[in-house]
């Protein structure tokens, strides 16, 4: 009787241990599946994994001009950054290796404020908040494409806005003496969102000031608005991603027009 009990108990122990090891090994198998090349792998690793020498990145004509460029801007440029990131993540070359320094609500004025000051807005680079001029230096950019002003032109007289623009751009040049400056126009507003000073007429006038500033300082001015406006001099409604709120942000389709226009210039 005693022997039977011992054998019975030992058998139960063995079965339970076996059961335990089986469940552990099945968990390991599940883990192995998720260790296969994933979205976080680089394109090079992906190509290597697929062993497909024919898989290449399509080149855009003219895009090489944007090598070592930085795009500086507010939330409008954020839409462009999203477009470029999406293209690159789908294995399409887009604006060469251009990088972005943008932040929602950034302006020529608040980007020049000390980071500790109230109202200061600065972009992030590699997860850290930086002054625009320092960010350009960290990137090692040779060309800066700036689009700011949407958050300036309603706040102060245009002369003051231009002084702020010159202050910011001169700080960028001081820290990055070899940089080439390209100032892009402020983009238009959809008709239904024009109010008080926030009008397309004022956008145009502010852009004239930006153009004159560039001429005076030897910087390049780029009017990107011609392909974004409708016959009423407003942002084409079809290109606007937020017609119910601010009426200024661009859909991906409009970003494509913007990029194609830039490429056509150079």
């Amino acid at each position: 009787m005693k022997n039977r009990f011992r054998i019975f108990a030992l058998l139960i122990c063995l079965s339970l241990l076996l059961c335990c090891f089986t469940s552990c090994s099945s968990s390991e198998n599940e883990l192995k599946v998720s260790l296969l090349p994933s979205a976080s792998d680089s394109l090079a690793e992906f190509i290597k994994f697929n062993n497909d020498p024919g898989l290449t990145i399509p080149e855009s004509v003219g895009s090489a001009f944007f090598k070592d460029s930085v795009f500086i801007g507010d939330s409008v440029t954020l839409s462009l950054k999203n477009y470029v990131t999406k293209q690159r993540n789908n294995n399409f070359e887009c604006l060469s290796n251009a990088e972005f320094l943008c932040s929602g609500s950034m302006s020529y004025y608040n980007a020049t404020l000390d980071p500790e000051q109230k109202d200061a807005v600065h972009p992030k680079y590699q997860g850290k908040t930086v002054l625009v001029e320092d960010g350009v230096n960290l990137i090692g950019a040779k060309k800066a494409f700036i689009m700011l002003g949407m958050n300036d032109f309603c706040l102060f007289p245009f002369d003051e806005d231009i002084e702020n623009a010159e202050t910011l751009i001169n700080r960028i040049i001081e820290k990055n003496p070899d940089i080439q400056i390209y100032v892009q126009s402020v983009t238009p507003i959809i008709a239904s969102k024009e109010h008080n000073k926030f009008t397309n007429e004022n956008v145009d006038e502010f852009n004239n000031y930006l153009s004159e500033m560039c001429e005076k300082n030897g910087w390049t001015y780029i009017d990107i608005n011609q392909n974004l406006k409708n016959e009423n001099n407003c942002l084409n409604d079809d290109y606007c991603s937020d017609p119910e709120s601010q009426g200024i942000h661009l859909k991906q389709e409009a970003c494509e027009i913007w990029i194609n226009y830039l490429i056509s210039l150079f």
Binding site: A9, L16, E30, A39, S79, Y83, K86, G127
Partner: protein, 157 residues
């Protein structure tokens, strides 16, 4: 005496098995890409979306150190700001905690930036929260956050 030893062995074996099963439940392996696919196909998404697929993207958009994660699935609004869905499979539970801390910092900073500028987005951020489940970390910023959380949680049941 032998009976006592055998009985104790039995009790310990049973405890060992249950402990192993318990820990497996807490660290249940899920396919985060399958979860994200189900979420994006079940819930109304923005007109245009984009996936973040590189560690540079993670650092750039969320301030998250991608080396803390074995894998991640991130889908966000491509046009501007709004919907942001992120699931991470961290290297271990300590990495999961670090990812969670970085995401919470991101949320706080985004609210500060967009509160007066884009209040609808700030509201979504305020109503989102970062969840840790074993080595998995999630953040769902969406008008349909509660529906998304239900789908996500169903994978752990």
């Amino acid at each position: 005496m032998k009976k006592i030893i055998i009985s104790l062995s039995l009790v310990f074996s049973v405890l060992f098995v249950f402990a192993a099963c318990g820990s497996e439940t807490a660290n249940k392996a899920i396919d985060i890409h399958a979860v994200m696919d189900e979420i994006t196909s079940s819930v109304q998404m923005p007109e245009e979306t984009m996936n973040l697929t590189t560690n540079d993207d993670l650092l750039d958009y969320f301030g998250v150190d991608g080396s803390l994660a074995k894998d991640f699935a991130v889908v966000r609004d491509a046009n501007y700001v709004g919907t942001e869905l992120a699931i991470f499979e961290a290297n271990d539970e300590s990495s999961a905690q670090q990812i969670s801390n970085q995401l919470n910092t991101y949320i706080t900073e985004q609210i500060e930036t967009y509160q007066s500028y884009e209040p609808d987005y700030a509201y979504l951020l305020q109503n989102s929260n970062v969840n840790i489940n074993g080595v998995y970390v999630s953040l769902f910023v969406s008008e349909n956050a509660s529906e998304i959380v239900n789908i996500y949680n169903s994978y752990f049941n």
